[in-house]
Structures are given as C-alpha cells and as structure tokens.
Symmetry: C2
C-alpha cells in the first residue's frame, strides 16, 4: 500500500472493500475457461462464478471496481499470457544501476546483491499485478550479467522465495537467462545448441528449477543482441537456439520468451543502405514455423526501440506459424523517465488494434520499483494499470481505463484535474520532442533530454539525416531501404506513398524538404515549430492546473511529488522546444511564420 490510495490494489482476502455481500462460487463444471469468470450484481449482492481459483480472483478484483448494479457478464482474457518483465539487476551495475532503465528507485526483488528482506512488499506488488490481470512476471534483467546468471543455479532458492509470493496471486515467475549459461555456469567450452552436452546441461538445469519451483514459468532470452551471446556464434539459427531451451522446458509446461530485438549495433553511420528497422524482420521471418510450440517470439511493438512514435513492427504481421508476444515498455525510457507525465495506453491500444489477432502474449516492461509510489511519478502508475487491463482486453478504450484508474485512486474532487493532465499527455510529449516519427533525438546513453545529433554519427543505426534542405529517413522501396516492403498490404503502399503516409510517421518513412506540405496543410518546418511551442505551452498549463488543486485533496506528499516532477517537465520541455527549434532553424534558415522566439 505504502502511502498511495490503495483502492485498486486492495482487498482480496483481507476483506477491505470485499465484504459479505460478495458470493464467490468455484464451479469446475460451469463451462468457463481457465481464468474466466461471470460476474453480476443485483440488490447489492455481487456474485462471481468461475471454474478455477484464478477466475474467482479476477472476478473479485472486478467486484472491487464495480460501481452500481450489473447484469451478468462473462469476462475472459484475450490472451493467456500476460506478462510483466523486470530489468532488475541483482548487483548494482556500474552504469545501469540496480534496475536498468529503471526510474523508480531500487529493485523490488534485490538490493545490493542480496534478495530483498521486504518480501511483504513483493506480495503487495503481486496483488497489484494480479488486480489488473497480469499472470506472469520475469524477475531479472534481459541483459544477464555473471552474478545474475547464477539465479538459475545456486541462487535458485531466492527465486523460489519470490515465486511463493507471486503464487498467492496466480502469477508464475520467469527468469532471464544467458544463452551462454552452459559455459558461464556449466563449465562447458561451448553453448552451441547442436552440442549434446549443451542440450543435456539445459535439461538438467531446468529439471533442478522445477524440482524447486513446480509452477515455474520459463525463460526470457535476449540473444545475439547488443552484445549478449547467442546462436550466431555457432552458425546456428535463432530457432536452433530457442528450441534447445524449449525442449528442456517442455516436459514441465514451461515456455521460452525469445526476444526478436536482434540488429547490428555496430553499424557505420556512413552506410545508408543498412536499416536497423529492417533487422528483426530480416532475421526472424525466414524462421516462421521452425520454432517449437513452447517458444514465444517476443517482438517490440515498433521496429526500432520504444520511441514515442513508431509504426507497428511488421514482424508482428508476418509470422503466422509462430507464437508471438508484443512487447510494450511501461518504464518510460524514451518517454520522460517518470519525470514527465506521459500516459502511454493510447499508443499501445493503437498497436493492439492492428496486431491483437496475431499475438499470443502481451509483455510489458515494468515501471515499478521500491519507490513509495511504486513508479516515482505517481501518475505513472496508470501506465502499469492499463498495461495489464489491455492485455486482458485489448478492445478496452484507453481513456476509459484512465478514468477507471483515476476513480480507483483519487477522490472525485481530484478526478477532473488528473484526467486533464493525463488524457493527451502522450501527444503533448510527442509534440515537444522528436517530430513526425523521426525519433532518437535524445541524449545518448541516458536517453533523457534532447540531443538532436546525439545519435546521428553513432553506431546504433538511429539517424535522421537532417541537412540544410530536409530531414527524415527514406525507407521506401522506390528509392530507400525498402523497409516499407516488409509490410503486408495495404500498409506497404500506404507507407510507401507520400500521398498516403500519415503525417505522424512521415519522417520515419520519408526524407522530405523542410518545405514539404503535410496533410495538415502546414510545412514540415512550420509543423516542427508549432508543435514544439504548443507542447511546451501545454506543459506550462499543466503546472498551473495541478497547482490549483488543493494539496489536501490528494494528500500533501503526493501533491508535492507531482508538483516537483511537473517543474522538471516544464524545464525539460522548454529545453526540448528551444534545442529542436534552434537546430532546425539553423539548418533550414526558415523563420517561424508566427515570429516566435527561436534562439
């Protein structure tokens, strides 16, 4: 609970909020699938029927959200796999800290190399996740360092201790493992997936895990990615690699989440023919149908890396014979790092509307830590809340989910202000940061704040190619990298043509002159100026709106925390506005049509 309005966390078993007027009936013969439930409320009495304990639990949490009478409704999860992944390190990493890309204090699970001694907090977190429909959690960073690798073997008891807490809420735990584990932990001289000793090592290691944790979920693997080991070293495919782990897990019902985030991170910026956006598709689609049934290929929602605006990854539309997970990032690495208000579910909802039919799992990288508000910025909780709810039902309206979260978290007197602050906050953030889908104008390394050329001459494959005449990346089939050709129709043609490419993705797909006229009727350069002035102005308004809310309405501490973060958001938004505008003014030489101040 820890200081935040606990309504949406609360209740189950403890009785708070869930009183005698709730009748829970477990009926294995009721005809409902696993985790599903039927709920009704009539005459003040709520009834929940489910075939299993998990269904009863989800129905109970639903009961907590109910307001008023309800005719019987059946709810079932859209996908069976609804996972939150943690990028937590056991040992504080010298660069990345305790939680990689974490902005909410330390890890909930580990502290300075040891298991947390606050397992009750882990229990609270498990309830929090369960209450929004999450049923799987991975405990450690996908970049698996040497110390963390040992969670799989001699530190397994710590994983078991965490699993015990999550199990209470029907959540299975997963471990990120190193593809090189047979060498790092097993003392073998190879991790070649075709080597019988390697297969035997994985089988034995996995058997030991299940002997300790019978409902263990499985493995998460980042292989051949940003320096992590993988099957390429042995001339094997990623299907070869994933299937060895899958074979070890299959007897126990476990699964491998195998990340598709594979690209050349040592690219030469001079080489304009290589396109990082193409990489996942080029690597993985030829393997469609070759992955074992218990491999889930985990694909970031966009082709690059969690930018504020990307098209959907074509991999998600192109592998019908492979189990797919779409990966979202609640931790706001590129979207304000929980110092900026940025309610992301409208973005995720838009992705899900395209890919929901193609995916078997929804994965969200957690934004929670040992911060007293869980997420540093109290309003960032809403991202985690809605991530779970959308995984359960992708058709939910993200703004309705926002109001649902607000209703469970804040008193009615604060609801309007919070709603106004958050509703358009993703669009506001996009307005004052990288324009028109071009992305990656962030400060290298920490990814916070503007640095327009920060990645322009780097090895990371994230360029904007701005010169004195224009800006953007030509990814067309006609004249560019051909990335548009990775999409099925009609998307391939829609993105290919300047006539049909949506404005907000223009610079992702095309290199255009600053004087190019958008569908909105504005030139690119004027759009850049306008959105940056407007975005920063909108943040300034947010500050005033929050300041007008009496602190006691939400609690003085929470009020002060949000006010403090808003101050930083204003400062940062102004810095973004001025750097972006100055950069493009210096390059284009074109003045702002409204004559506003550009430095």
């Amino acid at each position: 609970m820890s200081g935040v309005h606990p309504a949406w966390l609360g209740g189950l078993g403890g009785g708070a909020g869930l009183g005698d007027d709730v009748v829970l009936t477990r009926d294995p013969l009721c005809g409902l699938e696993a985790e599903a439930y039927t709920i009704a409320r009539s005459g003040g009495v709520t009834t929940v029927v489910a075939a299993d304990e998990a269904g009863l639990m989800y129905g109970s949490f639903h009961a907590l959200r109910l307001d008023g009478e309800l005719a019987a409704q059946t709810h079932r999860p859209f996908v069976a796999r609804r996972m939150v992944q943690h990028w937590d390190n056991v040992f504080v990493h010298p660069v990345m800290g305790q939680v990689e890309r974490g902005y909410s204090g330390g890890s909930l699970f580990w502290e300075d190399g040891a298991l947390t001694d606050d397992l009750d907090r882990v229990g609270d977190y498990a309830r929090l996740l369960a209450s929004v429909g999450i049923n799987a959690v991975s405990l450690n960073n996908v970049n698996v360092h040497a110390g963390e690798a040992r969670l799989l073997t001699d530190r397994l008891s710590e994983v078991a201790a965490l699993a015990a807490r999550f199990r209470q809420y029907h959540i299975r735990v997963y471990l990120s493992v190193s593809f090189a584990a047979p060498m790092v932990l097993g003392g073998l001289d190879t991790a070649d997936p075709a080597d019988e000793r390697v297969k035997a090592w994985w089988a034995a290691a996995t058997q030991r895990v299940y002997a300790t944790i019978p409902d263990f979920g499985g493995y998460v693997v980042k292989a051949d990615s940003e320096g992590q080991p993988g099957p390429f070293a042995y001339g094997r495919t990623h299907a070869d690699g994933a299937n060895v782990l899958a074979a070890a897990l299959a007897p126990f019902g476990g699964e491998v989440y195998w990340r598709a985030f594979v690209y050349n991170h040592r690219q030469d910026w001079r080489d304009r023919s290589t396109d990082r956006a193409r990489a996942a598709y080029d690597h993985f689609t030829p393997l469609d149908g070759e992955f074992a049934a218990n491999v889930v290929l985990q694909v970031k929602h966009g082709p690059i890396d969690f930018q504020p605006r990307e098209p959907v990854s074509p991999v998600l539309l192109s592998m019908p014979r492979t189990s797919l997970a779409v990966e979202f990032q609640a931790t706001q690495e590129y979207t304000g790092q929980q110092r900026h208000v940025c309610y992301l579910p409208p973005m995720w909802s838009s992705v899900l509307s395209t890919v929901a039919g193609a995916v078997d799992a929804v994965v969200t990288v957690s934004n929670a830590g040992d911060d007293r508000y869980w997420t540093n910025h109290p309003l960032a909780q809403a991202n985690l809340y809605a991530a779970g709810r959308l995984a359960w039902d992708p058709a939910l309206d993200p703004i309705a989910l926002l109001d649902e979260w607000i209703g469970l978290t804040f008193p009615p007197a604060a609801a309007g202000v919070v709603h106004e602050l958050m509703r358009d906050s993703w669009a506001v953030y996009e307005g004052y940061t990288s324009p028109l889908g071009v992305g990656f104008m962030v400060h290298p390394g920490d990814h916070y704040g503007p640095d327009v050329d920060g990645y322009e001459y780097s090895r990371w494959g994230t360029y904007h190619f701005a010169d004195r005449d224009g800006v953007g990346v030509d990814r067309t089939r006609a004249t560019g990298t051909g990335f548009t050709g990775q999409y099925p129709q009609p998307l391939a043609d829609e993105y290919e043509s300047l006539d049909t490419c949506p404005d907000e993705l223009l610079l992702f797909f095309h290199h255009v002159p600053y004087t190019h006229v958008l569908h909105s009727g504005k030139t690119v350069i004027q759009h850049i100026y306008d959105t940056h002035f407007q975005g920063a102005a909108a943040v300034a308004e947010m500050v005033g709106r929050w300041a007008a809310l009496p602190p006691e309405t939400v609690g003085e501490d929470l009020h002060a925390r949000v006010a403090d973060r808003l101050r930083e958001q204003v400062r940062s938004a102004n810095e973004w506005r001025d750097q972006i505008n100055t950069y493009f003014h210096r390059k284009s030489g074109i003045p702002d049509a409204q004559g506003r101040r550009i430095y």
Copy 2:
C-alpha cells in the same frame, strides 16, 4: 626503467652512464645561484660545478645528455618553480577512475584507496622528473573528494612516504586541498576565510604537515570551479581565500598554487552574451596586487580548456603584481588521449614565447601512470620530457628537444622514423579535428572522438554557433562578447580585425560565412575539407612509416604497442574527417572543390 630505453632516466648515483670521467664539485662560494651549474667536457673528462646539491644533480643529468666536447657553459633555470601536477585519486572515482583524465593506467601513488606498495617505481619517477628539471610535484587530483581530503590530516604519513622518495631528487611535494577542509576535516560549520577559527584551523593543519614533512611544498587549490567549494560562498574574493592558506604556509616557506579556472559551468546556451573565455580575466584581474607573496595564481595557457588551438590567456599578460604560473596539460585530454601521436611542445613553446617574461612558474599536468611505458603511448613520453626542459629554458627549440629525447631513447636506426612521425603531429591532429581554433567538437564527458554538436546546447559555455550560413564565435569588441578587449595591444587589435586575425584562430574570435576567404586564399569551408582529408591521410602515412621500421630496432613489444595505437589513430582520424566534413557539408550545402567523398 620498466622496459623503455632508459638513457634519459638513468645513472645518477647508480653509476650507469656517469663514470669516473665526471668530476662533480660542490662549491658554495662559486657564485652560482641555487640549482644552477657550470658544465664543461674536455679530453673526455666532464666537470660540473654548482653551489648546491641540486645544481650538481642537474649538471649530472646534463652530462648524461652530452655528446662530444663542450666548452664551459653555465645553465640556470628560467623559473624557480617547475611543477608537475597529478590528477590522481586515492579511491577509484566511479566516473573518472583512479586518475582523472589519465590515460596511462593507474596512479603511480595510490591504488584502490591505499598507498602504492611500489615506492621504488615512485623513486624511478622522481628521477625521471628531476632529469628534465622538474623540482615540484603535486600528488593528488585538484578535484578533492572526501577520501582524498584526508591526505592533509590522518593520511599524512602516506604523503611523507612519497615525499621521502621525491626528496632524493630535490623535488618538493604538494597536496591539492579542498577549500572546505575546515568543514570536511575540521568539523567547523564554515570555511569562511574571514573566520578566525578557519584561519586557526589552516594554521594548525599546516603546522602538523611541516612537523612531518619539513620541506613540504604547499597547496594546490581549485576553488569555486566546476562544483568545488570556494570563497564565493561567503562573499569573499579569491584573494581573501588564497591568502588564508598562504598565511598558514608562509612561516614554513610554503606556497599556494591557486587555480584561475573559474567560470560559470551552468551557463544557458541560449545566452550569447556570456562568454566563458572572458571568465578568468573578469574574475581575477581586479585582484592584481591583492594576493600574498607566496600565492601563485595558476592560469591555463588558453582562455578555455586545453584545446588543440587557443590563443594565449590574457590573464597571463594582465597581472603584473601577481605571481603567475602557466599551466600546460601533458595528459592528452583533448589531444588524442595517448592513443594519438601528438607532440605538444611546439604549442607550449609558442605560448611561452609570449608569456615567459610574465610567469614565475610553469606547471604541467602529468601524463604518467603505472603503465610500463609510463605514458601508454611510448611516444607520449616526449611531451613530459620537453615539458620539463621547456620549464627550465623556454627558449629551447621544441624540435631540437624532440631530437634530444629521441637520441636518448631510441637507437640511431629508428631516430629518423620517430622524428618524422612526431615532428608535425600536433599540426596533423589539429588538421583532422576542430577547425580554425573553434574547439570543443568532442564527445561530451570522455572528450574523445568527434561530436560536433556534443557541447553546442550544453551548460559548459563551449559553442561554435554553426548554422547554414557560417560558423564561429564573435568575441570582438565591435559586435561580439568583447573578449578581444582583454588583450593588451597589439594583440587586441590583431584579434579584433578579420584582416589581421591569424587563420588558425579565426573561428575562436569571429563568426564568418563558410565562403569567407582566409589569408591562405582558401574559403573556410574548403579549408575544413582540405585539412580533414589531409590530416587523415597524414595519419595513414604514419602507419606505413612505422610498419616499415623493423620491430627489433626498437624492441618488438614497443613496436607493437605503437602500431596498435596508430591503428586506433587512423580509425579515429577517419571518423573525425568524415563526421566533420559531413556535418559542414550538410549545413553549408557547398561541395568539395576536389570532389572527394563526403558522406
């Protein structure tokens, strides 16, 4: 010795190279000043006469350099204070490491929080420094962290152990101290220099130092600089601050080296009226005459920060009633970090030709560490060598010094190649890096490799203001920041006028169009292209030249080390060439007149 040809380090006391045919005569009544000596060689017998032991030592080192007969010559140091400063940390700093801006392995003095257990290596280093005329060394980083502050008090015995080794070679040791030491170490609630308790604390602490180390040299202080504490916090001047420490040291003959590196490091890039180049002059010249006699104001040779090309600092020409030290940087922070060959003494010599008459001390930041070649790049030793020799005699020709070092270090068969590699290496480095004196187009933080806009929108006050029309910083009196007005005549007018401003400093003083024609007859943009193609090509030639030298000529290990560093220099020079050329081509739109490849 440690693996490098030891001729110029060798001999004194050990007999190597200094045989029975050398007659040393100490004659207090000979009329020579401290440290001076008369040397002659006739009929194979060398005679050295001096009034003190130090003079005999310097004369003996001179004897080791002698080749052939010599009529009697008297040599005396140009300045009495010839110091090498170390930026060594006792504890490994999480960002800066064991040695801040050190590129030669760990510290010679400290290792992971403890005094080195290799004091013999310290003795070798002391001999090395003495052999080139250095008589003072500061042991720790000017950024004094909490652990390092204690060298002044409870870790004084470690300083004494080092002092014992340096004393053998007539070198006095200094400590960098924190201005806040009375608070950090003394438990006072203030470090106000006007507070009697503060004065008393410094007096007592200093007395304890001298009780342990009677020939202790004094303190080095970085105050009110990049976050270090200083007198500004109490509304006091830097003279007030320095004089308190000076008063504590005066009874024992000690001195304060007080750094003039004071500027606003939280500048707003939007504010074009503030000019970091002005800062030292604006802060310190009003205090001329107010510093105690045993304060030496230590001024970086240029107004910014050790860039490959800067004008001389006007502070060095404007404080006749203050003892001044000019500060050079042998550690190659901005000049290739001992991975690039960059022989810097031609730059230092040019500075000294302007300021030698005005300075009382020459300070060089050391480039040595526990690397087996002392300086990582074996050829970087020459910078330390010549730094000492120029401090002794600023009129020495830097290329003659290069040959002197080569002759003492390498066999004749290698001399030509080494000379060719090094002679113009500063000009080559300047060619492929920042053009025309504009500076600071380096990667932020580590300062290695190109990042043209890396500091352009930062708080550090180091901008180039490149836009689609032109580049450079207007520091004129007529239209700019007025910095040129800080120079005495004729320099003030020379820099002010485009007609007389030297090409190599053009962008330091002026913002000009890319089409501006230099005195060389080239346009600015064509100069940028040409120097970058030529600079990178020159490095490629260096590689071939070195490869053609048979490894056994210089030893295979040293040959391989230099070859390895040259490979990196080629890679880096090409990266500089391409990033700079592409950046300015994208901005200016002007093609290379020779049609070479610009990406």
